[in-house]
């Protein structure tokens, strides 16, 4: 065997799994198809400027004294400290619907108070929902699917409030359209509202670089621009990993963060995969650079989740982009970011990946130009003088996500069907990352840790 474990993908989950395994003496190799680390949360430089993909906020942020929530747990597991990520908390964020806004901070009581003010009749019922979420058994291996919309209707009477809660929670982690598993709702509700948002000053690169450094210092091997072509199967096991170009590698265990369907496609004689297992939720995000920080131009929220209709539709739209709702992220609106040299304003919309994937190159470029104009129109609602301060922009689309991560449809949150125990039809092949079931940056890190613990470290 060349390695004890081969991990496909140097994203958050692959790196976290790699750190755990290498730390405990396993011979580990991570194979990454791209030349950059990070997978769905990555970073790049363009015209002398640093850009982030993914990361609007690191969720699950808690203060130094808290020990039993996901962030401190995963830091312990990775033998890393809070300082490695340099997280700075948000000041506040908002959910904006027609005629009503809710403001939340990293203190749940602020949201409870704002719900009471805007929906007086719902105050007690919302408190009961919060208590139910707090007590909900979030053991991902044990709970069955439960509709979030149905459950919320049992607790709340005001349809608008239900939609307002679903909007940020679905945007930050639902692979399913229209509804979601209540367990997933609970996990994300806690990560957003009970815990909260933070951000490293340097963006996601701070986290990724710290993880890569840790992985290497533990003796792990990282091979970039090394795409997997095929997994050769014998006796219900992955026998060898074939790299594009012809090299073959072997390992006792293979962990794949490439996605369930994507991983099955690596296995020649894999079971056929039903179409509904391919994720459809993808996004277009415009990243605008301004010559002034948005907070000095009147926009102070870290994140705004907006929806311009009474009901909230979370699904692959018919049009290239659904302009009715979205997320506005302003990285400088976190504490300690007031001296950033330039301002960023990012806006994310649900997108139809079929349209973006089918364009020829000229049509694709034109479509991006058209939607930059739409971005400016919408951005004026938050920063009225955005046109005067606009200096540069970039845009990522389902096509960008597919090109760099191999995700079918550019489905950021992967398959709607999660495989929470990470198992596949092969005995030594396991899933980690998006399709295992924990989402977001913290979720992905926990996914890698959990799968490495469960299927490699605890198995010995």
């Amino acid at each position: 065997m060349d390695y004890d474990v081969i991990i496909i993908g140097a994203g958050m989950s692959g790196l976290a799994a790699g750190i755990r395994l290498a730390y405990f003496g396993k011979r580990v190799c991570i194979l990454e198809k791209h030349y950059a680390f990070g997978g769905l949360n990555s970073y790049y430089r363009l015209d002398g400027r640093d850009y982030d993909v993914g990361l609007h906020a690191v969720t699950n942020f808690v203060g130094p004294g808290v020990r039993d929530t996901p962030l401190p747990k995963l830091l312990r597991q990775l033998r890393m400290s809070r300082n490695d990520f340099e997280l700075l908390p948000q000041r506040f964020s908002e959910i904006r619907f027609p005629g009503v806004s809710l403001r939340f901070t990293n203190d749940l009581d602020d949201l409870i108070a704002d719900v009471a003010e805007n929906f007086p009749g719902e105050a007690d019922r919302f408190r009961k929902l919060c208590a139910h979420v707090g007590e909900f058994d979030d053991n991902v291996l044990l709970t069955d699917y439960q509709s979030t919309r149905a459950t919320l209707k049992e607790f709340l009477h005001e349809p608008m409030l239900i939609e307002m809660l679903l909007c940020p929670i679905m945007y930050y982690g639902s692979a399913e359209e229209h509804d979601m598993d209540f367990l997933q709702f609970v996990i994300i509700f806690k990560s957003l509202f009970c815990e909260g948002f933070a951000r490293p000053r340097d963006g996601v690169r701070k986290i990724i670089k710290a993880l890569v450094k840790k992985f290497r210092s533990c003796g792990g091997e990282l091979r970039m621009q090394t795409p997997v072509e095929r997994l050769d199967v014998a006796d219900d096991r992955v026998a060898t990993v074939l790299i594009v170009g012809g090299e073959t590698l072997s390992a006792a265990t293979v962990l794949s963060s490439a996605g369930y369907v994507e991983t099955m496609r690596f296995c020649g004689d894999s079971p056929s995969v039903p179409a509904e297992e391919v994720g459809r939720v993808s996004f277009v995000e415009t990243i605008a650079v301004l010559d002034e920080l948005p907070q000095r131009l009147g926009h102070e929220a870290a994140i705004v989740f907006f929806n311009d209709c009474d009901t909230f539709t979370y699904a692959m739209p018919e049009h290239p982009v659904d302009l009715r709702s979205g997320v506005v992220c302003c990285p400088s609106n976190y504490e300690g970011h007031d001296d950033m040299p330039e301002g960023f304003l990012r806006m994310t919309w649900l997108a139809n990946s079929d349209v973006w994937m089918a364009d020829d190159d000229a049509a694709y470029r034109q479509r991006k130009i058209d939607y930059l104009a739409e971005f400016k129109t919408q951005a004026r609602r938050y920063v009225p003088t955005v046109d005067d301060h606009f200096i540069a922009s970039d845009m990522f689309t389902p096509r960008t996500i597919h090109r760099y991560t191999g995700r079918l449809n550019g489905a950021v949150y992967g398959s709607p069907r999660k495989r929470r125990d990470g198992r596949t039809h092969l005995k030594n092949l396991f899933l980690c990352g998006t399709d295992q079931g924990y989402l977001g940056i913290i979720g992905a890190l926990l996914s890698g840790i959990t799968i490495a613990n469960m299927h490699v470290l605890a198995e010995e």
Binding site: Y23, P64, P72, K73, R76, Q77, R79, N453, L457, A458
Partner: protein
Amino acid sequence: MGDQRIKNIILEIIAIVAPDAEITDVKTDIRLRDQLDLDSMDFLDIVMELRKRYKIEIPKEEYPELATLDSCAAYLGPKLAGVAAT
């Protein structure tokens, strides 16, 4: 290796596994999990660290032997007998 040395090793390992745990005043006859608020992930890591450092194997069914510092010393004594007290 003496009992006190083994107890110190366990505390050193806890300091690595759970750096935010308060280990200055640990009672030797009370369950570590109860005193230090360690979860099952932390506990697995104590076992993993022992294996990593001293190459000793602890089967899952014997994890309860590591409940307190006293029981750790009694259980690990024979296993660490050949290991130099570094």
